[in-house]
Amino acid sequence: MNLLPRDGVRLAGLTPYLQAAPLGAILVVFLLLPMVVLVVVSFFDYDSVQIIPGFVLTNYRDVLGSSVTWRTYLNTIRFTVIVWSITVVLGFGVAYVLAFEIRSRTMQLALFLVCTIPFLTSNIIRMISWIPFLGREGLLNSALLRLHLIHQPLEFLLFSDFAVVLAYVHLYALFMVTPIFNTMIRIDRRLIEAAIDGGARSLEVLTQVIIPLSKPGIAIGSIFVVTLVMGDFITVRLMSGGQSASVGLMIANQISLLQYPAACANAVVLLAVVLIMIAAILRVVDIRRDL
């Protein structure tokens, strides 16, 4: 009988493993193994009908040796830099107003929900919904025409790089707002009062107190935006009307041509680039205390 308590202890020691096992199993089978498969298949050979198991470096040689790849990467990074710059300013501004200008707690929560709810609706529908606004006969063009600001419809509004960037900002700005808002509401208000008492002006409070203390949120938001834009293909496909390219779209095209090993090599390179970018962000800002 006196074995029982020890059994209980042993069981208690096992508990966290049993509780974590389902999460571990799902992530191993549907994340880790697939990434291993990506790497393995990236060394396979292929012809027009099938994948041929083997170990060849031709896929990487094709990916890295092609000027199309380099141009596509540059274009994707250009999108990422533009979208990141816009969303970080927009996201910071919105989070700032929510955290510091809205006084009532209920109102703050309500407006925060209003700013995050679109995240739980369909991205594709949100992209499509720009068509009646930006199109040749869309709302914006007809308004500008009626105001005599332009004499011909602006063609660059829809199916262009402009439309792609606009859609990205529309889709991903909330990935900036949420983490920045979360760090901002945890800033001790007494620090701000102390700064004001110490003679700091509004701008100085912003640059010396609020921005430094919001850095972890900015970093988390940046990681989201950078990885989402770097890996995107559907926004570019829908909003550029086939005019623009991205790495994700290049991979998707290779997949539709059944060139799986080439797509995998491309995917491995993309993964490496994304991880390097995240490492760079984490080197600048320590987000651990925010997790």
Binding site: P16, Y17, A20, P22, L23, L27, V28, F30, L31, L32, P34, M35, V37, L38, V41, L90, V94, V97, F100, E101, L111, L113, V114, I117, P118, L120, T121, S122, I124, I125, R126, I128, S129, W130, I131, P132, F133, G138, A173, L174, I192, S202, I223, T227, L228, M230, G231, F233, I234, L238, G248, I251, A252, I255, C264, A267, L270, L271, V274, I278
Partner: protein, 267 residues
């Protein structure tokens, strides 16, 4: 903080414009989905009708709307249930340090930041290399969980960071078994967050596109069907579909938020 009232109004105006930017386009297609039978994809409205909503339910007009909707609802429910169960369980585990906890946490965060198209491609290839047919309820189910689980686990993380263990200890001291302690003490306290996780699980699955694209096999989910439509449908039926799924999403969000507020108040 705010100096001049003028500056404050400018900031509030900025927030208002941002909200308009978020919702404006959606409202536009909502209005245009009531376009008359002869109307096009842009304004002006050529009469007002329910024509395009009716067209939605004629299968020949828009592929397999009914079938894909049914699959999406079933899949979202499965993903929701699995996300809640697995996240809560993992959240309980992470309250203690165990061997591999750091690695598991890193893997969870990695799951959030690895581009969706890579997960989709990897899971699709894994299934085909293993000789299995990808399907919406197997491979797509797993691929979607890699997107919903990190959100669930991180929410549980935040909850248990603020959780007062004294309640649970009190229950144990009063003779409650671990299960009773969880069922009658921990669960009621974390209930609002659990509803939040359920909402994330359901909604993210219901709208997921990239991770489903190469893993759903031969039967489309609704977002895949909508994507197909964007390339070959040029009538407001597309907007009607957008309106229906957006309104549905909003109903789901509203129900979940109501549940959260009721559960929080009861506490």
């Amino acid at each position: 903080m705010s100096g001049l009232p003028l500056g404050r109004w400018a900031l509030l105006g900025f927030l208002g414009l941002f909200i308009l930017f978020l919702y404006g386009p959606t409202i536009t297609i909502l209005v245009l989905s009531f376009q008359g039978p002869d109307g096009g994809l842009t304004f002006p409205l050529n009469g007002v009708s329910l024509h395009w909503f009716a067209a939605l339910f004629q299968t020949q007009a828009v592929g397999d709307f009914g079938g894909s909707l049914a699959r999406s609802l079933a899949l979202a429910t499965m993903v929701m249930a699995a996300t809640v169960a697995i996240s809560v369980s993992a959240g309980l585990a992470f309250r203690r340090r165990f061997r591999g906890s750091q690695a598991l946490f890193t893997l969870t965060v990695a799951s959030l930041i690895i581009p969706s198209i890579l997960v989709s491609l990897g899971v699709g290839l894994l299934f085909s290399q293993a000789g299995l047919d990808p399907a919406w309820d197997t491979s797509a189910f797993g691929a979607q969980l890699t997107w919903t689980l990190p959100f669930g686990v991180l929410i549980m993380f935040a909850v248990f960071n603020r959780f007062n263990k004294a309640w649970e200890e009190a229950a144990r001291d009063l003779g409650a078994t671990p299960w009773q302690g969880f069922r009658h003490v921990v669960l009621p306290i974390i209930a609002p967050s659990v509803v939040g996780i359920a909402l994330f699980g359901f909604s993210l699955s219901y709208d997921e596109f990239a991770r489903t694209l190469l893993t759903a096999g031969s039967d489309n989910t609704l977002p895949l069907e909508i994507f197909g439509m964007t390339t070959n449908v040029t009538t407001p039926v597309l907007y009607a579909l957008g309106t229906v799924t957006t309104v549905f999403s909003f109903i789901v969000i509203f129900v979940a938020l109501t549940a959260v507020s009721v559960l929080s108040r009861r506490r």
